[in-house]
């Protein structure tokens, strides 16, 4: 069953008066429960595609069907609500807030959930449990290794029970052993039925997934 469907998606930017076609007439379907990788070199349109998949941006033209709704031309607050309810982000540089504890970092998305999430703290502890970080709940991010920080970031992505997990170069800042650990964690989450998209330029990372979506010059190959 398709979770996400892009139809004839185009995204144009104007950079210094010249038009840049970051995505050009792209069609893409992601099924529920799929574990896929978007790969491509920098400048290929990979990041633009990720921004559209993560509802951080809207397309110049085309349709986006997500979870049964056409959502290409919704406003920024609706997009924020979709991000809050249905998308879990994992970033290359973790983006944990240094002054919050691990638990508070994981809880952060719940403070923007509308309506409020009941038993948020219990869910945060479960999310930390599922990434193997339950015993570090009261540590600060600075007290953790890179791999541990990324696990916390994944727990944060899981707390709102998203329909889609979007990971942008999740192993980019990690040593190879930590990277392997994180990738196996994603495989584990996929095994639990979650839909995951990794965005990467690294073929070794992409080979962990079921499906590789190659982007080049604004087109999907």
């Amino acid at each position: 069953m398709p979770l996400l469907r892009l139809v004839s998606i185009t995204k144009h930017y104007s950079v210094g008066g010249t038009l840049v076609k970051a995505l050009d007439n792209v069609d893409l379907t992601i099924d529920s429960g799929e574990f896929s990788a978007v790969i491509g070199p920098s400048g290929s349109g990979k990041s633009t595609l990720m921004h559209l998949l993560g509802f951080l941006d809207h397309p110049t033209s085309g349709e986006i069907h997500f979870d049964g709704e056409e959502v290409a031309r919704i406003g920024s607050n609706r997009r924020a609500m979709i991000r809050s309810e249905k998308i879990g982000f994992v970033f290359q540089s973790f983006n944990l807030l240094p002054r919050l504890s691990v638990l508070q970092n994981v809880l952060l998305p719940t403070s923007y959930a509308r309506p409020r999430i009941p038993n948020a703290e219990k869910r945060a502890r479960q999310a930390l449990e599922s990434v193997g970080m339950a015993d570090r709940a009261h540590h600060r991010p600075s007290q953790l290794s890179g791999g541990q920080r990324q696990r916390v970031a994944i727990a944060r992505a899981l707390i709102n029970e998203p329909r889609l997990i979007l990971a942008d170069e999740p192993t980019g800042n990690l040593d190879s052993r930590s990277a392997e650990n994180i990738l196996s964690l994603f495989e584990e989450l996929h095994g639990q039925g979650r839909t995951i998209i990794l965005v990467t330029h690294d073929a070794n990372v992409a080979c962990h997934t079921q499906r590789q979506i190659r982007v080049l010059d604004g087109k999907i190959l």
Partner: protein
């Protein structure tokens, strides 16, 4: 994000940058402290003034006082009999709403003695029995003056508590004792209540204790040897028609003085009006100083918030990515600015209260720590927080999440 968690967030940001936050708060604190202190001074003055006005007759009291004859009536001055008992009698007869009237004679230098003791700094006045209720005096021992005292020119006196204190031992009964007024023996027939309204260590009502009253004619004939009355005091019942009453009295007096305008009627309303304008002036100066300090504080907060946002661009990007609305980010930074300003305000109130406490123990300065000053000070700090946080919060809320997440 709730308001409370916003404050918590603000506090942790402040704690993370203690020094710069503290310095910024200090500016707000100084502004609020100066508002609290200047308000305290004005309130203190006003409070004291209200009490002394009420205790010296309140709005019901009207005074007829001598004034210089106007230039165009100079040649008629001699035809006026001047202020006298006659005016008092006419006022009582012809002015509606008047309940008490008394002329007031003031002795320039009357010395009160008892044995070897002399009472210093006492105002000795002559009047008819009405003078006590007009000036709101109460008798605690003995009796008030009566018409017969004046009629027979009896050598009797009613004294204030300061006189009793200076001439007699503590707890000694004074009624019935004889004292010397400029060498003439007078029998004390009444003792006035002791009046006290502390303002710091200063008794606002001390003047009311430093008095002695003689019967009008006794004072006129035996002490002064002249009939000229210093002023006439009137008490009316209806303060809503004060102006009409004052005009009626003015007409009667001018009539009695054969048209010569050598006396003027004054009401305490004039004092209220002049006090109100003085108070406004003080408030304006105090608030002006406070406003400048608060402006400086506000600029400091804005500067701090802009720097803080600059350091936290990625945090803003992350918050937006995980579902924060622009309004959430706006509120977060606004609440942070307000928290900073409120803390500054609290420090300012505490400092202001401290300064007022210290000043209250001194004799000369007597400010009051009033609830209104605290409320005004605190509201000002919140207002400064909101105004100075507005622009940075708008800037933060407008950040594009993609750009913000990319920001290094």
């Amino acid at each position: 994000m709730s308001f409370l968690s916003g404050i918590g967030n603000g506090l942790s940001e402040i704690w993370a940058h203690k020094l710069r936050s503290f310095l910024t708060m200090l500016c707000v604190a100084m502004g609020v402290a100066s508002v609290v202190i200047s308000n305290g001074f004005v309130d203190g003055l006003f409070e004291g003034w209200k009490v002394s006005m009420a205790e010296s007759g309140g709005l019901e009291k009207i005074r007829v006082e001598r004034q210089a004859t106007p230039n165009n009536q100079r040649h008629l001055a001699g035809t006026s009999p001047g202020l006298s008992m006659l005016d008092a009698e006419r006022i009582r007869e012809f002015c509606p709403g008047v309940v008490d009237v008394s002329p007031e004679l003031t002795g320039d230098s009357v010395e009160l003695r008892h044995g070897s003791k002399t009472a210093e700094d006492i105002r000795v006045m002559g009047g008819v029995p009405d003078i006590l209720p007009i000036d709101r005096y109460e008798i605690v021992e003995g009796r008030a003056l009566c018409d017969l005292d004046s009629h027979r020119k009896l050598q009797v006196i009613v004294i204030g508590s300061a006189v009793a204190e200076q001439l007699f031992e503590k707890n000694e009964s004074v009624v019935g004792k004889t004292i010397q007024c400029n060498g003439i023996p007078f029998v004390i027939v009444g003792l006035l209540k002791h009046y006290e309204k502390k303002y710091g260590s200063f008794n606002l009502l001390e003047n009311k204790n430093r008095v002695a009253f003689l019967p009008f004619d006794t004072m006129r004939v035996k002490m002064l040897g002249r009939a000229r009355v210093g002023r006439i005091l009137v008490r009316v019942t209806d303060t809503d028609h004060l102006q009409e009453a004052a005009e009626a009295i003015q007409n009667v007096v001018t009539q009695t003085h054969r048209g010569v305008k050598d006396c003027k009627v004054h009401t305490n309303e004039e004092n209220v009006a002049s006090y109100e304008s003085t108070k406004k002036g003080f408030m304006l100066v105090g608030s002006g100083v406070g406003a400048v300090a608060l402006l400086v504080g506000g600029i400091g907060i804005m500067n701090l918030m802009l720097a803080s946002i600059h350091e936290r661009v990625r945090e803003i990007g992350l918050r937006k990515a995980i579902g924060a609305w622009a309004s959430d980010i706006f509120l977060q930074f606004l609440v942070e600015a307000v928290t900073l300003a409120m803390l500054g305000g609290l420090i300012g109130i505490a400092a202001g209260a401290g300064v007022i406490q210290v000043l209250q123990s001194l004799e000369e300065f007597r400010p009051l720590l009033s609830m209104s000053a605290i409320t005004v000070g605190f509201s000002f700090s919140v207002l400064v927080g909101v105004l100075s946080g507005l622009y940075p919060a708008i800037q933060a809320s407008r950040l594009d999440p993609i750009e913000a997440l990319r920001y290094e």
